[in-house]
Amino acid sequence: MAGLAASFGSGAMSNSMDDVSQKADAFFVIGSNTTEQHPVFGTMLRRAVRFRGAKLIVADPRRIDLCDFATLHLRQKPGTDIALLNGLMYIILDKGWEAKDFIAERTENFDEFKATIMEYPPTRVSEITGVPVNQLYEAAELMAASKPMAVIWAMGITQHISGVRNVMTLANLQMLLGNMGMPGGGVNPLRGQNNVQGACDMGGLPNVFPAYQPVTSPEAIEKFSKAWGLDYGLSTADRVSPSTVHRLSSTVGMTATEIIPGVLEGKTRALYILGEDPVMSDPDTNHVRECLEKVDFLVLQEIFPSETAVYADVLLPGVSFAEKTGTFTNTERRVQMVHKAIEPLGEAKPDWWITAELAKRILQTSEVLDAPFAGWDYTDTSAIMDEINALTPSYGGITHARIESGERLQWPCPTGEHPGTPILHVNKFARGLGKFMPIDDVPPAEEPNDDYPMVMSTGRVLYHWHGGQMTRRSKGLMEVYGEALIEVNPEDSQKLGLNGQNRVRVTSRRGSIEARAWITDRVPPGMVYANFHFPEASANELTQAVLDPVSKIPEYKVTAVKVELVS
């Protein structure tokens, strides 16, 4: 969430799902198929529209289910979000509908931003996006008239070469309308996996320690070195054994989408993968396979022999969420308990135990100094949480005991008395003033041409989850949705001569998959939609590893493909 961090100083969802769904006068949902990806939040939006009369603007190339509830559906061409948003902001500025007081008091860089926006008059925007001019006006008017309006998005915004810029553009919109720091408003990126938020908060990122303390900051390095018993520039005389005591690296590391290709460049020699399935979830599957085949050593800690397990040298059996106790952090920064319901199956072990055992066996005593958190002897996850409390300011007061006693805690929650923070950026942005960013639209990396005339977008469906390791092993879910389906518009189906035949082959510059077609006007003509839940026809065989230059998120939402009938 680098985009929000640049605009506001904090990258997380600013509001809570219940305040958004109960207090927003309007929702602007862009790049989120909420009712399928975040279903229960999707129903909260449907309730708000039906029972509270909240307005809903959906911007999505596909006619997703939520469109049935929308006041207005903008069907922009894939990869033209920035142009669309700049165009809406042009109209808002042109009509003088912007929140002048808010802009004056709480933001900076407005003039520079405005100069860029003025290059997006409605006719030009309509040409780029394919959205009719009158719909642009209608949307801008709805947005200006609805206070507060909440903006909601998901991977449909971030999985583009311009993902970070897309997010900053949405931040611009909410500042322009003055919808920040209040119930029912805000910027609300919905996190995909159950604990993506927590994995980020806990320093599962190459550039930050827990709570987004930069790995390049001397203060953070000193703090973690002291806590973990490492050398941070002790004078030679104070060093117990100067050559062996570890130092923290102060260079930003590689992202997942760089670590794996790093194998072929000789950068990555060994991989420790916990519960992830890069073969299914990463772009350009063939390339991923090649890398994993070549890596010197791969240890995979998993509950199933996934597609990635084929390449593993060691497979360590972890446990499911039903076999361990600890916490998850949901998309609205709420930390909640997970409770062990059954003993680990067979000889499987909780993942925290396995990681700690590995650490103990890798680390020689001479490599660390005596320090409060140098060791790895944890009796349970609440002992780990104590360490998190001490080193992670936003989690300082979030203990298992408090959650167990029924307190509902959303970070930041710095102390044991702090009640938590349901809404961010009230009265003041984390970075002080909110920063308007002048953003121009960037065309997708791969535009359709004569050889690959159609656009493929990828994502998930209601009944499955990610690489499908869990949901493909669920009987009922497979009964309802048991194979990969590729959504094809009726017009294209006619052109392809799909009558009666229902299998199609989709080919990109990188690979080819075959699957059954689902003829539906959910997708516009010229676009197909595929998922990555099934190894026999995973969309990631076709996607490319072009990344957003800042976030390194791959462009999953726009791939040029050709579609053929399989007879």
Binding site: P39, V40, A199, W228, L315, V338, I342, K349, I388
Partner: protein, 367 residues
């Protein structure tokens, strides 16, 4: 402005607009209910919550009747009790008689009330099996309208919680029945299989197919463990049902902070992967590691061999240390997991940075 009423002889101040049921609850008087649920619009159709209001010839349904100034209410008069018994008798007359083999026995509101009021199915009653048992092909939801008491909670749950309008009511009188869409199957009526209707159904008319026959409602055999969903970032909470060391089902926990009773199909019905036979139960290493051979050797070097934990952990630690010491800390990449606990992610971060000395750590937030 307050409204002064007398409830079972006690003077009480209430707010205008409150129903008799609201006021009774606030003051710790229990009025039995069946079709009423606090999340759903009250309909007053089951007649269990009837109370006597002084001056009124007919009993009033407490869930839909608002209080007025100087209202005098009796919640447990002989007249109300007789009326409730009669209502229950009529419901039981239209209901399958086989409580003993019913999946929800133990957690059935109808059974509880029949017991409380000591009402059995009447002699003249039960018409036997009028409808097909397990009549809908939905893979998650088991439908048996022989047990339906036409309370309409399912209709309201679908319309007001899920906002999907799958269920409706058809016919009149004795033929009255709940139907999906225009009397089709649930999935054809655009059911999303969220199971909200099952969660709100007070009887065994709607139950869970995946756990059918495992006695999920029999409290003596089943433990409930409250936990957080392992699928998406909404963070719904629910109770796992555990019997004989197995997770046999999921039920809503009304106190869940984010979602209350609501869940989606994956959260409510996607739990069976936990006990799937593919689960890894023992550490495995490739044969070449045990025999200290080259991994690219032809033959059986790449076979999986199951080992004990010490062997697998020592091999792994040795290999990671070797990469770190020979090629430098940045030759090791660590992928942590957005499916794992905060505590586990913290440890992965600590392992990468403290133990290995690299910032090459990431997870699938981007994917």
């Amino acid at each position: 402005m307050t409204v002064n009423i007398t409830l079972n002889g006690k003077k009480i101040e209430a707010q205008p607009g409150q129903t008799i049921l609201d006021v009774a609850k606030e003051n710790d008087y229990r009025i039995p209910t069946l079709c009423y649920h606090k999340d759903l619009s009250p309909t007053g159709n089951c007649r269990m919550c009837v109370v006597e209001v002084k001056g009124n010839r007919f009993l009033q349904a407490a869930c839909v009747t608002q209080v007025w100034d100087e209202m005098e209410i009796e919640t447990d008069s002989q007249k109300t009790i007789t009326s409730r018994k009669l209502s229950l008798e009529q419901m039981l007359a239209n209901h399958s008689p086989n409580c003993a083999t019913c999946d929800v026995s133990g957690e059935c509101d109808l059974q509880d009330l029949a017991y409380e009021y000591q009402v059995d199915a009447p002699e003249w009653g039960t018409k036997g099996t009028r409808y097909k048992v397990d009549s809908d092909p939905n893979p998650f939801i088991r439908v048996d309208f022989n047990k339906c008491i036409l309370c309409r909670r399912c209709v309201l749950a679908c319309a007001e919680v899920q906002v999907r309008d799958v269920w409706g009511v058809a016919q009149r009188g004795f033929e009255e029945i709940i139907v999906a869409g225009a009397n089709t199957t649930m999935l054809e009526a655009h059911c999303e299989s969220c199971g909200q209707c099952v969660a709100y159904c007070p009887t065994g008319a709607l139950s869970n197919k995946l756990s059918y026959g495992q006695g999920i409602a029999r409290a003596r055999q089943v433990t409930k463990v409250t936990t957080t969903c392992s699928y998406c970032g909404v963070g719904c909470q629910f109770d796992l049902l555990v019997k004989h060391k197995k997770v046999i089902g999921v039920v809503s926990n009304p106190d869940a902070p984010v979602n209350g009773m609501a869940l989606c199909v994956k959260g409510r019905y996607g739990y069976d992967y936990i006990h799937h036979p593919d689960r890894l139960k023992k550490p495995r290493v490739r044969r070449y590691l045990l025999e200290k051979k080259d991994k690219r050797l032809k033959g059986n070097a790449w076979d999986w061999i199951e080992t004990d934990w010490d062997t697998a952990l020592d091999i792994t630690a040795g290999k990671l240390r070797e990469a770190r010491d020979t090629h430098g800390p940045d030759s090791v990449g660590v992928l942590t997991s957005a499916k794992c606990l905060n505590e586990e992610n913290y440890l992965m971060n600590k392992l990468a940075r403290q133990v290995i000395g690299t910032n090459n750590i990431d997870h699938c937030a981007r994917l």
